[in-house]
Every structure is written in structure tokens, then in C-alpha cells.
Amino acid sequence: MNAAKLRQQIAFIVLGVVTLFVIAPILLTIFYVTKNGIGAISWEFITQPPRNGMRQGGIFPAIVGTILLVVGTMLFSLPLGVLSAIYLVEYARDNFFTRLVKLSVVNLSGIPSIVYGLFGFTMFVLFLRLGTSILAGSLTLAIMSLPVIITATKEALESVPVSFREISLSLGATKWQTVRHCVLPYAVPGILTGTVLSLGRAAGETAPILFTVAAFYLPRLPRSLFDQVMALPYHLYVISTQVPNMPAELSFATGFVLIALVFLMNLASIILRAHYRKKRLW
């Protein structure tokens, strides 16, 4: 075997091992959480409110709360993010204003989540007087999700071949008809990926909901959008650090449910994406 071949062999092995290190943490996390938490998972655990200072019973209100927050976040961030990305890619000319917008988007994604929490608290809870509520929490999470959705949508739109736009425009279609029929449909898979990624993160964040919506202990379902809710990540934080004599199994079980929820969302997006990919004929 000559030296070049040997070097290639070594390179392959090094790259393979490094890649293993990338997937190891996620596999280990899932394994560890499942192993320690699966014993506490029961029908009661996911359908009943907590009892006895949260040491017994289930986490149903927190599951509902997290789902509500994810849906609320999506309702605000998806239209806002997708429409502004369409504007940036398809309509805006390259000028000072659009450069400012693009810079803002990049910087938004670099802001720590606790800062979003504080911003949401002063802006939505206090200034707009929404109170500690699902609405305030959803809006805060929505702002946090925006950069990812905008960036993903921009990339998805930019990856649609320019020729589609030229064909459509050359047939006398208006700009909007072109975007609506010849660009957006082919960008949907990319937009979906970005949206689910950012919503998965929103589902798992604690800091932004800390001051804006999360209830420490509220063993009933919310009555309106202005109500507080429990949420899985905050509940996990609370039972892991704030409640003495808490069975560790319950913490892991809560973590397991949160991971499962995010996994289900990803699964839904994979199915939708596969459906749209079938339409991709170029």
C-alpha cells in the first residue's frame, strides 16, 4: 500500500470517529433520560395534574401549557417570519434599510434567551399590560423564533431556481402571482424545516417564559389566553431544583415527555416535507 492510500485511510477513520462524537451526545442523552424516566411514565402521569406538592400525580397541565405555547408561538412567528423573508428576498432592493433588517435578523439570533425573557416581561407583560399570560409568553417565544424562521425561509426562497421566476414573469404574471405560484410552493420544505427547528427550541426554552407566562404550580387548565400556564421546561426546572425530596424518576420522566413532544413535531415535519419533496421535479 502506498503512502497516499494510507493517508486517505487515516483521514477516513479520523473523520468517522469525529462524526461519532457528534451523534454520541444526542444518543446518550436520549438513552439516559429514557432509562431513568420510563419507569414513571404511565397513563396517569400524562393525563393527571400534579398532587402532593408535585411529588405525585402527573404533568398534564404542563403538557397542555407547552402545546399551547408552541401553537401560540407558531401563530405569531410563522406569518411574520415568512412574510418578511418573502419581502427581503423577492421585493426589497439592496439598500440601507434592507441591510439594516438583515443585520437585525442576524443579531436577534445571537441574543441570549434570558434577555428575550426580560424584554418580553417589560414589553408585553408590563407595557402592553398583557400580564403574565399565554399571550405574553407566546409573543416572547415568537420573537425569539423569528430569526431562525426568517433565515430558513430566505434560504429556501433563494434556492428556488431563478428560471421559475423568469418563466412566470415572461408570461405576464405579476410579481405576487410569481411568488405565490412559482416560488413559494417549492420553498415549503425548507420553510417547514426552519419552523419546526425553531418551534422545537421554543418548546424547550425556560428563560423566555420564566417571567412572561410560566406558573410554578397551577394544577388546572388555563381558562383564557390571559391565563398563566405550567410548561414542561419550567416544570422540569422547578421539580429538579426547587422541591425537596422529589423522586428523580419524575424529573427524568418529564424530560422524556418533553423530548417525545419535540420528536413528534420533527416527525410531523419530516412527513410533510417528504410529501412536498415528491412534487419537486427539477
Binding site: E166, S170, L171, A173, T174, L281
Partner: protein, 251 residues
């Protein structure tokens, strides 16, 4: 007989950024003729073509002076979508939308407000027949257009343009990616369309211009060097540069 001009350009100058692409183009194209535009690469042929339906403006660095008339109408007075409905274009490479054969042709009429199913399928059938593609695709209209051969795709593009009923059809090197047989079919189609449409053909292939066009213009480095009846231009060019190009001494 005095031929009626359907397209007239007056002192047309075009720039991309600081680069002058066309200089003082004054040109008349007559109704129902096939007008060939020949010239080497970077001579401004495509820019001229795309100036006629304002596609050049998709590039934000584009600027233009001079006037273009469609019939009696200055095209400045037409909106982009009306103008492009009247002046259709066929691109160099067959560019189909990633939808079915039917929907490729129906797209144009749809955006112009035709919605009835029967009306649409009638328009699609007529357009495909005019482009001499109907017989080859009538049983597979719902198949993806991308499955057609290159030549069929290019005729599908012609059908798609015909479906919005333009007055003028621009061809931007329509056969540059096609084999000789497909090329012949596209050229046949163009001959058949002469009756009802004015066609402008930009081509790198001088022989094709000779075969298809009635009159021809020779562009070189942004200038319209010479214009004339195709047989005359090809056999007795007045300008030395035209002679050099046609006899293959450069380009």
C-alpha cells in the same frame, strides 16, 4: 408593398452598470416576419431581445434610453404584465416549470384570469396543436413536463407562450441545447406560426438564421452593423465585418 412595422426601436441604448451593451439601435421589425438576429457572443443580441419585453429590468443594474414601439404604442405606456403578455419569449435552454405538461401551458392563461376548466383545456389543446406537440403528448398531459425530451420541452415552452396569445414571439437561441432533429422540429414550428405571429430569432447559429429568417440583422459589440433580406445579407453583405462573420473568419 410597404410592410407594416410591428416593432420599432428608436435610438435604443442599454447599459448594465457602467457597461454599454447596446448603442443607438434603430430597427423595424415587420408584422408576421421571422427576423433573425446574428452576431458573436457579447454582441448584445439577447439584451436587445429582452429589452423588448423589459425582462432586462430584472437585473437591477440595467438602464435604458430610447423608445420602443409595439405597433403604434410606446411600450412605456404598457404595464409589465400586459407588455409581456403581448410579447412572449422562449429561453435558450428549455425551461419548464416543475409541474405537469398541462399545467405548464395552463399557467399563463390562469394568471391572466381564465379559470373555467373547459376554457382552459381548450386553450391548452389549441396551444399544443399550434406548437405541433399535441399528438406527442395528448395522452400524457398530467405527466411532469420534465419527462419530455429536450426538443419536446422547447416546443412545450412555445405552446406555453402561445397560450397567452402574444403578438410577437422572441426566441433567445432556442435550439442551442437541442439535437439536429429536435432543432428541425422547432424550426418547422416557427415556419407554421408565421401566419399569425411575428417572430424574432436570436441565434449563434448563422445557418439557422439563414434557414429560418426572412430578414436578418447583424449585431457586433452592441451595434447593429447591417440589416437586410437574409439571402442578400448572407451572399452580398455590404459591410466587411458582416462578411467576415458570416464566412466564419471570427466569432
Amino acid at each position: 408593398m410597404v410592410a407594416e412595422a410591428i416593432i420599432r426601436t428608436i435610438d435604443l441604448n442599454c447599459w448594465f452598470g457602467a457597461l454599454t451593451v447596446l448603442k443607438d439601435i434603430n430597427l423595424e421589425i415587420y408584422k408576421n416576419e421571422i427576423f433573425g438576429i446574428i452576431g458573436p457572443a457579447n454582441s448584445g443580441k439577447t439584451t436587445f431581445l429582452r429589452a423588448l419585453n423589459r425582462l432586462n429590468y430584472l437585473n437591477i443594474s440595467y438602464q435604458q434610453t430610447g423608445e420602443i414601439f409595439l405597433g403604434e404604442q410606446n411600450i412605456r405606456t404598457l404595464s409589465d404584465n400586459i407588455l409581456r403578455k403581448k410579447i412572449g419569449i422562449i429561453f435558450a435552454l428549455p425551461q419548464v416549470l416543475p409541474v405537469s405538461i398541462y399545467n405548464n401551458v395552463a399557467y399563463g392563461p390562469k394568471v391572466h384570469g381564465f379559470t373555467g376548466k373547459d376554457t382552459l383545456s381548450q386553450i391548452v389543446e389549441t396551444a399544443l396543436k399550434k406548437a405541433y406537440l399535441w399528438e406527442e403528448v395528448k395522452d400524457r398531459l398530467s405527466e411532469p413536463a420534465a419527462r419530455l425530451s429536450g426538443g419536446q420541452q422547447q416546443r412545450l415552452c412555445i405552446a406555453r407562450t402561445l397560450a397567452v396569445e402574444p403578438q410577437v414571439i422572441l426566441y433567445d437561441e432556442p435550439c442551442s441545447g437541442l439535437d439536429p432533429i429536435s432543432t428541425a422540429k422547432v424550426e418547422d414550428t416557427m415556419q407554421q406560426l408565421k401566419e399569425n405571429y411575428t417572430q424574432i430569432l436570436v441565434t449563434n447559429n448563422t445557418k439557422q438564421a439563414g434557414r429560418v429568417s426572412e430578414r436578418c440583422g447583424f449585431f457586433l459589440m452592441g451595434e447593429l452593423v447591417e440589416i437586410g433580406q437574409t439571402p442578400v445579407l448572407f451572399t452580398k453583405p455590404r459591410d466587411k465585418r458582416t462578411d467576415d462573420y458570416i464566412s466564419g473568419r471570427f466569432g
